[in-house]
Amino acid sequence: MNYTFDFNAVSLGPLIEGLIVTLELTVAANLIGVILGFPLALLIMSRFAVIRWPATLFVEFFRCTPAIVQIVWFFYCVPMLFNVFLGSMTMGILALGLNLMAFNAEAYRAAIQAVPREQLDAGIALGLNPFQRVFHIVLPNALRASIPVLLTNGIVIFQQSALVAIVAVQDLMYQAKTLATETYRPIETFTIAALIYFAVSFPVSQVVGWLERRRQILTS
């Protein structure tokens, strides 16, 4: 190979700007996903089919279609169908947030179902009403159990957020693409961009691994 690397050709400024946009998208989508995922999990576990079915369909639809299709669908179809015109950033947050909501709802559901039956029985025996049982028994237990999965889903969304570059949100991926074409230095640009993504997600995934190991020790 006779390619001479020139990492100096890549200016970090735009990449950092892009990273900030990516992080904004990630944080906003995670807020939506973590907060709204829980009520959604309760809906998909509802006793009433009228509530359960639409909620399940929503979750399965987001889990069983490619994220890129969802994002492109959002950008083209929401303005046409509902006649609303939101900024591209808002659209990106909405698409990623709803996607994450579906995945987190599944994580919460699994965690809720893993709450031991005896604990609920104890709640009934103590005369707690259903509302108190959810808030004081199910919620704390399930939240703690679902943290590793929520974090993993959070990293996945951080990575999936690169897809909004396709619909021209100026995130890290978009900046990298622009820079690569401007400087004719795709190898250096994409390598640096990939390293930036890696530098953010690797520490978080290590924390997840640590939490899981600690949990295994605690429960065994």
């Binding site: 490619p66 299709v69 179809c77 897809l163 990939a194 993504y197």
Partner: protein, 221 residues
């Protein structure tokens, strides 16, 4: 606005071709990726620190970066480094195989680890040779345990394969976007494309749950 799904009837063949490309790409990458994943999974438990180190860096890197950037990297950079032209099918296959290899290696590693220590001790007590220990005791159990997760890895791959449309490979997503640009009917076209993906991925996820139940019953755990 009025929706008119009949426009799609004219593009049945194009969509079918796109879907076929998606399925073909998925199948090729499943076969290559799972084989790679199995080898890397073994490499991560190897006694040699160098082998383990290389395998770990590979896995963490591919799990820690977006698939889209991996795809772009392979599509734009690999030809420059190797000095050969790569078709977009080839770069799609390479990128997705490396990605699947990384995620399935974790699956294999976890399932290898889940085979209890006592099984190994029993092998030693029975005086089984090393080769028999691995091929007749550890591997069958590990592979069986890995099956449900591997299947969901495959479903993820099917979904991730839509990314190759971004480097111009004519898969279902790419064909869908082209049709929607040409007919100016994104709502109908993109909805149908999403439904096609859903119609394939949803039954698969259900099948995964079924298989998982069967295997858990069989292993009695």
């Amino acid at each position: 606005m009025s929706l008119d799904f009949s426009v799609l009837l004219r593009f049945q063949e194009a969509l079918a071709l796109g879907l076929w490309t998606t399925i073909k790409l998925t199948l090729i990458c499943i076969v290559l990726g799972c084989s790679l994943g199995f080898l890397v999974g073994l490499a991560r438990t190897a006694p040699s620190v160098i082998v383990r180190g290389i395998a770990s860096v590979y896995v963490e890197f591919f799990r820690g970066t977006p698939v889209l950037i991996q795809l772009f990297w392979i599509f734009f950079c690999l030809p420059l480094i190797l000095g050969v032209e790569l078709s977009n099918l080839a770069s799609g296959v390479i990128a997705l195989t490396l990605y699947v290899g990384a995620i399935t290696s974790e699956t294999f590693r976890a399932s290898l680890k889940s085979v209890g220590r006592e099984q190994m001790d029993a092998c030693i007590a029975l005086g089984l040779p090393r080769r028999v220990q691995v091929t007749n005791v550890i591997l069958p159990q590990a592979v069986l345990r890995a099956v449900p997760t591997l299947l969901s890895n495959c479903v993820s791959l099917f979904k991730e394969s839509a990314l190759v449309s971004a480097v111009g490979m004519a898969d279902l997503m790419f064909v869908g976007q082209n049709i929607s640009n040409n007919t100016a009917r994104p709502v109908e076209v993109l909805t149908i494309v999403a439904l096609i993906y859903f119609a394939i991925a949803f039954p698969l996820t259900r099948a995964v749950t079924l298989v998982e139940g069967r295997i858990l019953k069989k292993l009695a755990i």
